[in-house]
């Protein structure tokens, strides 16, 4: 086998067990050295491609799927309630029957995420900071110029089909969540919303819509103001 063919085939697959290659290497010291060096380099490349995997990635992948399933189940439950209510109507109980219709409102999805907040918070030692949040905010063309507080987690999540950045902070008024959404997806959001446990506000900033959610009665204004002052968008 000529030198060029040999080198080509070794480069194509340094781990080759092709008898022709092995025989050529056994017969020629130069080829043997080339095969040895290429295999050594390949081994180092294999080690190099094993880059560190973000901590808790498996946990987050399972969490995001659970959150989605939770939302689907909620919709199904509403459907059953709807059927029950319709039956009640049919048998003549017509006064003040509350028919719950399936909700596709983003704020409901945000509240569901906050309800499941505990699951998102990793066990221990997981640190995030402004630069990490900014790396993720870059996909919205946004950046935070100042600290907005003690950030615990920043993670992409899906509110129905809308990709959102969910940031969880520790504030003097307890844990709060910030959701950053593309402007077009968030235009239907009401200025304020809530349920029995949480309440939230939403506001627009240039190219995005932001939701801030905290416990019912918590003062959302300080965080809202910090966000408005700190978030900047690229041109």
């Amino acid at each position: 086998m000529d030198e060029l063919t040999f080198r080509r085939r070794v480069y194509e697959n340094p781990d080759t067990t092709d008898p022709e290659i092995l025989r050529a290497a056994a017969e020629d010291p130069a080829k043997r050295l080339f095969l040895k060096e290429t295999r050594q380099m390949n081994q180092r490349l294999k080690t190099a491609v094993n880059v560190d995997v973000p901590e808790n990635l498996a946990h987050r992948l399972i969490w995001q799927q659970s959150a989605q399933q939770y939302n689907q189940q909620r919709r199904k439950q509403r459907w059953y309630v709807g059927v029950a209510a319709s039956l009640a109507l049919l048998i003549g109980i017509t006064s003040s029957v509350w028919v719950m219709t399936p909700s596709d409102r983003l704020e409901d999805y945000a509240l569901a995420h906050v309800t499941h907040l505990e699951k998102e918070l990793p066990g221990s030692g997981y640190q995030t900071d402004l630069s990490l949040v900014n790396a993720k905010l870059a996909s919205f063309g946004a950046t935070l110029t100042d600290s907005i507080g003690d950030i615990e987690v920043a993670n992409f999540c899906h509110l129905q089909l809308t990709r959102s950045l969910h940031v969880i902070l520790n504030t003097p008024a307890g844990k709060m969540s910030v959701f950053v959404l593309p402007d077009d997806a968030g235009k239907e959001l009401p200025d304020s919303f809530g349920n029995d446990i949480y309440e939230g506000k939403s506001f627009g900033v240039q190219k995005a819509r932001i939701m801030v959610v905290g416990s019912k009665g918590a003062d959302l204004t300080p965080l809202t103001e910090k966000l408005k002052h700190s978030i900047q968008f690229s041109a």
Binding site: N13, M41, V49, V53, L57, A58, Q65, S139, G141
Partner: protein, 170 residues
């Protein structure tokens, strides 16, 4: 539903690390890689019933991931600068023997995608030429040529940036 949940969790535990690594070399940006891995597994969950053979799971996930990556370019919504590409131009290695994994990662990232992708499939998943060809929708000869060129280019970059004898030339 419980069975589907268990299948999904097994899939996550078995493949998330290598799928993330593949995404990392495809996108060359850790936060984007993480993002598309999340999208990939979310899609995998939604269509898990379509996966009939667990043995095919790895290449099934790779296919979903590649589609997610392509979608990223369709959206054209990303506004990020690839730091690594700028960094490597000025990077020299004092000795080939002292190359650490970070140097080699930078080297691999410098390869253009048609060469980088088959090489990663071979290094990370141990795929054969046929398997890479099937995954990328190319013929085997093209794949073999790209693998050969990928390694030739690595060698070339190294010899350009390698200063024999350490600092004496620099």
């Amino acid at each position: 539903m419980k069975e589907k949940q268990q299948r999904y969790e097994a899939l996550v535990h078995a493949f998330h690390a290598d799928i993330y690594r593949y995404a990392y070399f495809l996108t060359r940006e850790a936060s984007i890689a993480e993002d598309i891995v999340q999208e990939t597994f979310l899609r995998a969950w939604r269509s898990l019933d379509k996966l009939k053979d667990e043995k095919a799971a790895k290449s099934w996930l790779i296919t979903i991931l590649r589609r997610e990556n392509a979608r990223r370019f369709e959206k054209k919504q990303l506004d990020t600068v690839n730091i690594d590409e700028h960094e490597i131009a000025d990077h020299t290695f004092e000795s080939q023997d002292n190359l650490d994994s970070a140097d080699l990662q930078r080297l691999i990232s410098k390869l253009s995608e048609p060469y980088r992708e088959p090489l990663i499939l071979q290094l990370l998943f141990g795929f054969s030429g046929e398997e890479i060809a099937q995954e990328l929708g190319l013929n085997k000869n093209t794949v073999m040529t790209r693998l050969f060129r990928a390694r030739s280019q690595l060698k070339e970059i190294l010899s350009k940036q390698y200063h024999p004898g350490g600092k004496q030339n620099g």
